[in-house]
Symmetry: C2
Subunit: 307 residues, 2 copies
C-alpha cells in the first residue's frame, strides 16, 4: 500500500520547481529540514532517488523529472476537487431528480423546468412522473431528490412545504354552461367522470362529493385529465379539473368551466424531500421559486379566461 501523502507531493513539486531546498521550503512556508525530511521519506517510500544532491546544486534525476510531471497532474486534480466543491456551494449542481404527480406535471413542468434551467445553469434535471405512493417510496430510497405532490403526505422523515392551493373547477358540456353550479352533494347524482384508481386527484374529488374513496365507484375512469375532458365534451358526463389544468385541457373542447360556490374544493400542492437531504437549503429556495412561478401562472390564466 502506498503511503504517499499530499504534503510530500506538494513539497516535492516545490523542490522540483526551485531546485533548492531552502527556497522550496520557504515557498511551502516550512523550515528547510522539514522539507528535507519529507522528501527523504517520499524517496524511501518510492524506493528510488528523486533528487541528485550535489554539493552546490541539486538536480532532479531522470525519474524525478518523470515523477514531477505526474505529480503536477495529480496536484492539479486535487485543487480541482476544491473548486468543484466551491462551485456546488450555492446553487444546485449536477443532477436533480424531481418526482411529480401526473395531474400537475403537464401544467407546471414546462414553467419550472424553464425557470430552473435559467436560474441554475449546468443543472441537469430528471423528471419522474408517477403516482404519489411510488414517489414517496422512491424519495425514501434516495432514487429522487424531491417530489411535487398533493399535501399532506405525513411522512415523518420528510419535510413538506406548500407551494400553492389550487381550486377544483367543474367541467360540463358547453350546453350546460348557463345552468346553476350544483352543490357538491349533487355531484354524485350526475355522471361524474374520474381518473383511474391510484390518482390522488380521484380521491380528492370523491372526498369532495362526500364519497369515501374505498367505496366502489360506478363512473367511467379515464387515464388522464385530457381524456376526461374529451369525454365530457361528447356528453358522457361531468368532471372536475384542478384549476391549473383548465387552461390547457379545455382549450380545444366544447365544454364549459365553472367555479363552485364557497367553500370551494381545493387541494394543496407542495414539495417534499427527505429531512436528511443535504439539498434541504437549496430545495427550500427552489420551492419558493416554484411557488412564485405557479402563482404567476395562475394569474396569467385568470386574465386569459376573463378576456
Amino acid at each position: 500500500m502506498t503511503n504517499i501523502t499530499f504534503k510530500q507531493l506538494r513539497y516535492f513539486e516545490s523542490l522540483a520547481r526551485h531546485t533548492h531546498f531552502g527556497r522550496a521550503a520557504d515557498a511551502c512556508a516550512i523550515s528547510q529540514p522539514a522539507l528535507s525530511m519529507q522528501i527523504k521519506e517520499l524517496e524511501d517510500e518510492l524506493g528510488t532517488t528523486l533528487i541528485e544532491r550535489g554539493a552546490r546544486q541539486i538536480r532532479l534525476t531522470n525519474f524525478g523529472e518523470a515523477f514531477a510531471l505526474r505529480v503536477r497532474d495529480i496536484l492539479r486534480s486535487v485543487d480541482e476537487l476544491g473548486e468543484l466543491a466551491r462551485a456546488s456551494q450555492d446553487g444546485l449542481v449536477g443532477r436533480l431528480r424531481i418526482g411529480i404527480i401526473p395531474t400537475i406535471a403537464p401544467y407546471l413542468l414546462p414553467t419550472i423546468i424553464g425557470k430552473l434551467n435559467h436560474v441554475y445553469k449546468d443543472l441537469d434535471i430528471h423528471v419522474r412522473e408517477t403516482l404519489t405512493p411510488k414517489l414517496i417510496q422512491e424519495l425514501a430510497d434516495g432514487r429522487i431528490d424531491t417530489a411535487i405532490v398533493a399535501l399532506p403526505v405525513s411522512e415523518p422523515s420528510f419535510t413538506e412545504v406548500a407551494l400553492f392551493e389550487e381550486n377544483f373547477m367543474l367541467v360540463r358540456s358547453s350546453k350546460d354552461a348557463n345552468k346553476p353550479v350544483p352543490e357538491s352533494e349533487l355531484l354524485h347524482e350526475m355522471r361524474l367522470l374520474l381518473l383511474e384508481e391510484g390518482h390522488c386527484f380521484r380521491d380528492q374529488a370523491l372526498s369532495f362529493c362526500g364519497v369515501p374513496s374505498a367505496r366502489p365507484w360506478e363512473g367511467l375512469d379515464g387515464s388522464s385529465l385530457s381524456t376526461l375532458v374529451q369525454m365530457v365534451g361528447v356528453g358522457l358526463g361531468v368532471t372536475l379539473l384542478p384549476e391549473m389544468a383548465v387552461a390547457v385541457e379545455t382549450r380545444s373542447a366544447s365544454v364549459s368551466v365553472a367555479s363552485f360556490k364557497e367553500p370551494q374544493p381545493s387541494r394543496t400542492i407542495g414539495m417534499i424531500w427527505r429531512k436528511t437531504s443535504p439539498l434541504a437549503a437549496q430545495l427550500l429556495r427552489l420551492s419558493e421559486l416554484i411557488g412564485q412561478s405557479a402563482i404567476v401562472l395562475r394569474n396569467e390564466h385568470e386574465q386569459a379566461s376573463r378576456n
Copy 2:
C-alpha cells in the same frame, strides 16, 4: 489552499464503496470514529456535504457521487506513481545521455547502442559526441549522465571505471608493409599525421613518440581518423590508429597495419559519472556490459584480420 489529505480521500473512497461507516473503517483497518472524523473534516474543508446520513442507512449526495468519481481517478494516479517507481527500480528508465569521444564513437557506439536497446527496453539514449574537456564540463553540469573517454580523467567528483585497453597500431602505406616496425622514437622522424588539437588521442600519440603535447607540431592535422588513413593511403605519411578503429578505417584504403613491439602503446578507455549520480549502480552494471561488448568486438576483429 486545499488541505485535503490523501488519507481522507482513501477513507472517503472506502465509505463511498461500502456506504457504511463501520465496514468502510474495517476495510481501512481503522476504527469507525477515526473514519467518521476524517470524513467530517473532509466535508468541512470542502464546505460541502458528501454523505447524506440517514438513521438506518447512509447515501452519497449528488456532489458526493461526482466527487467519488474524481477521487478514484486521483487515487489510481497515485498508485501508479508507486508502480512507476518500482518499474524504474532496476534497469535504466527514461532517458540516458551518454557522452563519447570521437575516436571511439564510430566503432563502439553501434555495438553498445544495439546492446543497450536490447537489454534496457524503453530506454531512450542520447549520444553527445565531442572532445573530452567538453564532456567533462557537461557531465559536471548534469547535461549528460555518463561519458566514455580515455582514462585517467582525475576529476575527484567523478567515478571512473576502466572498460578496456586498446593498443595503438601503426598505419603506413601498403608499399611499406614489409619494412620493420620502427621504434617509437623514430616515429617523429617520419611524417606522422595526427588529429587536430584538442583530441586526446593526438596527445596520447605524441606522448608515445616522446614529444610533449605542448610543443608545436609541424605535421599535417586531420579532422578524423578516417581522413588520416586516406592521407596515409596516398603516401602523405604514417599515422597511428586505435586498435578498435583499424577494422573499419583501413578496409577501403591501400595501407598496411602493424603492431608495435612490446611495450605496445595503448590507452585505457573508461566510463565516468558523477559520484553523486543516482544512476551509479546502473552505470556500473552498464560499464561491465560495455566492457564485455568491447572485448567481443576486438576478438571478432582479430579473427577477421587473421583470415
